[in-house]
């Protein structure tokens, strides 16, 4: 009989989720009020102006400077030097110093993996510059190394990957 059933769905206690307030949530009641402003209009107007400025700059540059287009591709006519896109020229420059496996695969691979695991390796909780001398030094050195090699590969390398000064000739396409 139905009456012997101890608990039906109707008699069971049911809950509705109204809100979940986490300990550190922005909705935390006792959290100190910080100096904040409404996103509409204060942040949105800045975003809009940034987008507008970018559109104007991009349009003007595109009206003045044409995107490069060389002759039809020809597998039998290797340009000298043949250069990778500019952001990979640091790697191409390193091919000049290290074995191809190291310069072309391991170095960029480890850099990318190193970047990805950075927050789990750098366990120093402080965000202040003064407390982060080691991590800032290491990161700056690596960033400078990549910047210098990209610049060298872009503007200081000519035929046969020989060193050439930018005022002699620039082999560089965007």
């Amino acid at each position: 009989m139905a009456t012997t059933e101890p608990r039906t769905a109707a008699t069971q206690k049911r809950y509705r989720t109204l809100a979940v307030v986490k300990q550190e949530a922005i909705t935390r009641v006792e959290k100190q009020l910080e100096d904040s402003v409404f996103v509409w209009p204060h942040l949105l107007v800045r975003e809009f102006m940034a987008a507008l400025l970018m559109t104007v700059v991009l349009t003007v540059v595109s009206l003045v400077v044409d995107a490069p287009l060389r002759g039809h591709s020809n597998p039998n006519l290797t340009p000298n030097p043949a250069k990778a896109p500019w952001y990979f020229l640091g790697l191409q420059e390193q091919l000049h110093y290290f074995a191809p496996t190291i310069a072309g695969v391991l170095l960029p691979g480890f850099t990318l993996v190193g970047l990805a695991i950075l927050p789990y390796v750098d366990r120093n909780p402080s965000r202040a510059f003064e407390d982060r001398k080691i991590s800032i030094t290491v990161f700056t050195a690596i960033a400078l190394y990549f910047a210098v090699t990209v610049l060298a590969g872009s503007f200081f390398r000519g035929s046969g990957w020989q060193w050439i000064w930018p005022w002699q000739h620039i082999y560089f396409d965007l």
């Binding site: 409404f38 996103v39 591709s73 990318l112 950075l118 927050p119």
Partner: protein, 270 residues
């Protein structure tokens, strides 16, 4: 006279914003009261990834330089200009180059749109890189934002691949040889070099038709999808991890000095 006109305009505006059609689109009045300024952020799908309020310090232009936002904006510009270019471009090695020539000379606004696409792409690589550098120096990758940094690294790599795949499409000497040189690096992968190279180019011999169609497909749909998904996570996590990090708090030394100062002032009171 002026006041009557103003009154009329106000009345017309009020009539419009209180109409059923207007209210069916926007469920609240114009956002010029704190309540409506909150409702607009929560009720609009395009705005709801923003918080209702934002810390004044974190919002400063000189803190973020708008680099993340500009990267996203450039992605949108690239999507729009890219769709336009897709109307005219066929990824077939006998016609691809001629298509580009046609875009630059015969299509209305074709040259401008291609230029915008090219320069926005290079610029996006720059803004994404600078955004990453900025986040590092502010220590904004630290807990609780560590996973969002990882998502950002994926987005950085996706940006590079998007640029790299697009570089080949004009099928001119620049793109052809840049991709030849670039994809040769993959063949130096230990143990799997040949496989890595032929997966990338789609052929064991070198860059050809199979590479063109592979790069085209990745460029117009594969990588943009990956980017869009990770961007959604990236933006969502900014909110969920407590919003923008804001300028770094005082260092340990400064905190200690402040505590010492407080202790001495308490001691002098006793």
């Amino acid at each position: 006279m002026g006041t009557t006109n103003r009154g009329l305009l106000d009345k017309a505006t009020a009539k419009m914003t209180e109409s059923q059609a207007w209210r069916s689109i926007f469920r609240h009045g114009y956002p010029d009261t704190p309540l409506n300024q909150s409702l607009v952020m929560m009720g609009n799908v395009f705005l709801h990834l923003h918080p209702v309020k934002v810390s004044r310090k974190a919002m400063k232009i000189t803190y973020t330089w708008c680099l993340g936002g500009l990267s996203f904006f450039l992605f949108l510009v690239l999507t729009i200009t890219g769709v336009f270019l897709m109307f005219y471009f066929v990824p077939e090695q006998r016609v691809a180059y001629a298509n580009i020539q046609q875009i630059t000379s015969a299509v209305a606004f074709g040259n401008l749109v291609r230029n915008m696409h090219r320069w926005a792409a290079h610029l996006m690589v720059v803004t994404v890189t600078l955004h990453m550098i900025r986040v590092f120096y502010h220590g904004a990758y630290k807990p609780p934002r560590e996973f969002n940094w990882v998502v950002g690294v994926v987005l950085f790599f996706t940006t590079l691949l998007l640029s790299f795949t697009g570089y080949l499409l004009p099928w001119d000497q620049i793109g052809y040889w840049a991709i030849t040189v670039g994809s040769q690096m993959a063949s130096y992968t230990p143990l799997l070099g040949t496989q890595a190279h032929s997966i990338l180019t789609g052929s064991p011999v070198g860059v050809g038709q199979s590479t063109l169609i592979r790069f085209y497909t990745l460029h117009v749909i594969g990588l943009p999808l990956v980017g869009a998904i990770f961007m959604a996570v990236h933006f969502w996590r900014i909110r969920k991890d407590g919003g923008e990090a804001g300028p770094p708090p005082p260092s340990r030394r400064e905190l200690e000095q402040a505590r010492a100062r407080q202790e001495t002032s308490v001691a002098s009171l006793n």
